[in-house]
């Protein structure tokens, strides 16, 4: 399934992209199934209780909600009336998980990126930092360029969305805890981070509003047989800047989940993989700078997960 969060009629809703690219409203479609097939009373309330009101709740409801979503999509394919299916152009897609519980982003996790950032050696344990969940934006939102920032950078990554409570799990079983995957762009203010790093901690430089574009949809884990071999790339104004494969990760997806499960992960938490080489910060001083500026179009994509396209605009 391609799961989405979308905005329609002044409401945030959960949905799925159907075979013709339109949006199935999961609660409406499941309620329609409950009313017509199961003859259930108060079907909207039952559908909401089953699926949850937003994506994090949906993920917390686990297999029961996933199964109901499949029923809803199948039902809507034969019964697209009412508000069961909405044309793609009539909704605004948000990030599939607009408010993750925790957003854990790996750093220094591709050897070619470690080299371009002039780090002496790779890390001994997985390196990650928290981005503020409030910095997440969707595929139709702009990336605000804050006036304080001079060196705005991009980083294409894979977002791994956790689907089950996960504490101290081993790497071999780690993928069982994944609900799905999405394209992700870890926007970074390099000059702010440099200032913060003098104190040995950075937070602001990764967490301005809009610094975490995600989407356009969450592809459920059952459709991705081996996430570790996906290609990923990023273009700025059509020019290819990053072009790599998740196979080059230092700590693999399974290792990351196992390691960060030590802090306790919950459904709706998101881990991102770190980025390969090709970021603006890796440019040599004698080259034309690649820093993002207002007007730039950034396209980040992980193979099979859809293109995440955002325009950079000056923050008002």
């Amino acid at each position: 399934m391609k799961l989405v969060t979308f905005f329609h009629d002044e409401q945030e809703r959960i949905g799925a992209i159907d075979s013709s690219g339109n949006v199935v409203d999961l609660i409406n479609a499941y309620a329609s199934y409950l009313r017509k097939v199961e003859k259930a009373a108060a079907p909207i309330r039952l559908a909401t209780a089953t699926l949850g009101g937003d994506m994090v709740e949906f993920l917390k409801h686990g297999d029961q909600a996933m199964d109901a979503a499949r029923v809803a999509i199948k039902h809507a394919a034969g019964d697209s009336g009412g508000d069961n299916v909405i044309e793609r152009q009539r909704v605004r897609l948000m990030a599939p998980v607009p408010r993750p519980g925790a957003l854990v982003s790996a750093g220094k996790n591709f050897s070619d990126h470690v080299a371009e950032m002039s780090s002496k050696k790779g890390p001994v344990a997985p390196v990650a930092f928290l981005k503020l969940p409030g910095s997440v934006i969707g595929p139709e939102d702009d990336i605000p360029h804050p006036p304080e920032v001079k060196n705005l950078d991009y980083e294409v990554e894979l977002a791994v969305i956790i689907g089950k409570p996960c504490v101290d799990v081993g790497a071999d079983e780690a993928l069982n805890y994944v609900a799905g995957y999405a394209s992700f762009n870890d926007i970074s203010a390099r000059d702010i981070i440099r200032g913060e790093n003098k104190n040995g901690i950075h937070l602001m430089g990764k967490s301005f509003p809009g610094f975490a574009p995600m989407g356009p949809y969450l592809v459920t884990a059952d459709e991705i047989s081996e996430p570790q071999n996906l290609k990923l790339w990023l273009r700025v104004n059509g020019e290819l800047r990053q072009d790599s494969n998740l196979g080059y990760m230092i700590f693999k997806i399974r290792d990351m989940i196992a390691y960060w499960s030590q802090m306790g992960l919950n459904p709706g938490d998101v881990l991102t993989t770190g980025t390969p080489r090709g970021v603006a910060a890796g440019r040599k001083p004698d080259q034309v700078p690649w820093w993002l500026k207002p007007g730039d179009l950034v396209e980040a994509e992980v193979e099979g997960l859809g293109c995440l396209r955002n325009r950079v605009v000056a923050e008002k």
Binding site: L132, H202, M204, S207, P209, M263, G264
Partner: protein, 327 residues
């Protein structure tokens, strides 16, 4: 005044209520507000609706209404006082005052967007290290929050865990890029926090300038149940905090001892935008009685951590081994 967030014994998890405090009783402010509106303000018809508007199920929601709701809170509490806290009932005869044992108190702010601890803010540390230029901070995940009485669970992955007392400045008014001279207008009050750190992990993470596992694990953010509101700048700066371990004082400080001012901190972090219920905690390790760097006092399994500020209240936690109890 101190306000609390809590659940009654029969409440569902999302039915949190805001409580005031009078004569050792916790007063359900939604019911008390309905009683006040009915009896003192002659608003019988929609008293319950108005009461749940002014006193929603989160303190952040209450703070959003700003000055008018603080004034209403004062009027309600003096009405409750005049009527007798043990006698007064809601418009439909509902109970509104509880012994503290009848209410399960929670961390006052359950899901702030910004819950930061400002690091490198202590004078003791600046004597040992070059002073920090900017008030950097780290983020404490809401899933790590516990309140007084909960055990602090020793993280399996660490051999060196310690505790730091902090005062959190709680935001009451939204703003972005707030100039220092306007910073205090955005402050609603203060909370008491103990920041638990897995120091060995934290040191290793510091080498790669991240700060995650060492600061974020279950029960690593202990927050006292009271939110102190309605105090001015002078009172808040003078709040004395004392952290003790098994009865011996480890840290003692006031907000005014911080190397960064509240003005500087709000000016810096409001660049990202701040809103009611966000908090910025200050103080970790401002030890007058032995700097942690020179005289570390790590926790042990079985240690009792106590952190108190008379105006806010206190936190008391016992350290237990992982696996001993699951939340």
């Amino acid at each position: 005044m101190r306000i609390y967030l809590g659940l009654l014994e029969s409440s569902l998890p999302d039915q949190t209520r805001i409580f005031g405090e009078l004569d050792g009783q916790l007063v359900d402010l939604q019911i008390a507000c309905a009683a006040y509106l009915t009896q003192a303000d002659n608003k019988q018809a929609n008293a319950y609706e108005l009461a749940s508007y002014y006193f929603p199920n989160t303190i952040a929601g209450f703070l959003e209404w700003g000055e008018p709701s603080l004034k209403l809170l004062d009027q309600i509490m003096s009405f409750v006082n005049k009527s007798g806290v043990r006698q007064l009932r809601g418009p439909g005869g509902e109970k509104l005052a509880y012994d503290s044992t009848e209410v399960r108190v929670l961390p006052p702010l359950q899901n702030p967007e910004k819950s930061f601890v400002i690091g490198f803010s202590d004078r003791a540390r600046t004597e040992a290290l070059p002073p920090a230029e900017i008030p950097t901070g780290y983020y404490k995940l809401p899933q790590t929050f516990v309140t007084t009485g909960a055990p602090v669970i020793w993280p399996k992955f660490s051999e060196d865990v310690d505790a730091d007392g902090c005062i959190a400045i709680v935001i009451g008014k939204a703003g972005k890029r707030i100039p220092p001279e306007k910073a205090w207008e955005h402050v609603a009050g203060a909370m008491l926090i103990v920041d638990i750190t897995a120091r060995d992990i934290n040191k290793r993470e510091g080498l790669t300038t991240n700060n995650l596992l060492g600061k974020n694990f279950p029960s690593s953010t202990c927050i006292a149940p009271a939110l102190l509101i309605g105090k001015d700048k002078k009172d808040l700066l003078a709040l004395e905090v004392e952290l003790s371990l098994d009865g011996s004082v480890k840290q003692k400080f006031a907000l005014r001892d911080c190397v960064f001012t509240v003005e500087q901190i709000i000016a810096r972090w409001s660049i990202l935008g701040i809103k009611p219920g966000d908090w910025l905690a200050i103080g970790a390790s401002m030890a007058r009685q032995g700097d942690r760097l020179q005289n570390p006092m790590p926790l042990k399994i079985g240690s009792t951590i106590r952190c108190a500020a008379p105006a806010i209240g206190e936190l008391s936690h016992q350290v237990i081994a992982a696996g001993g109890m699951r939340r």
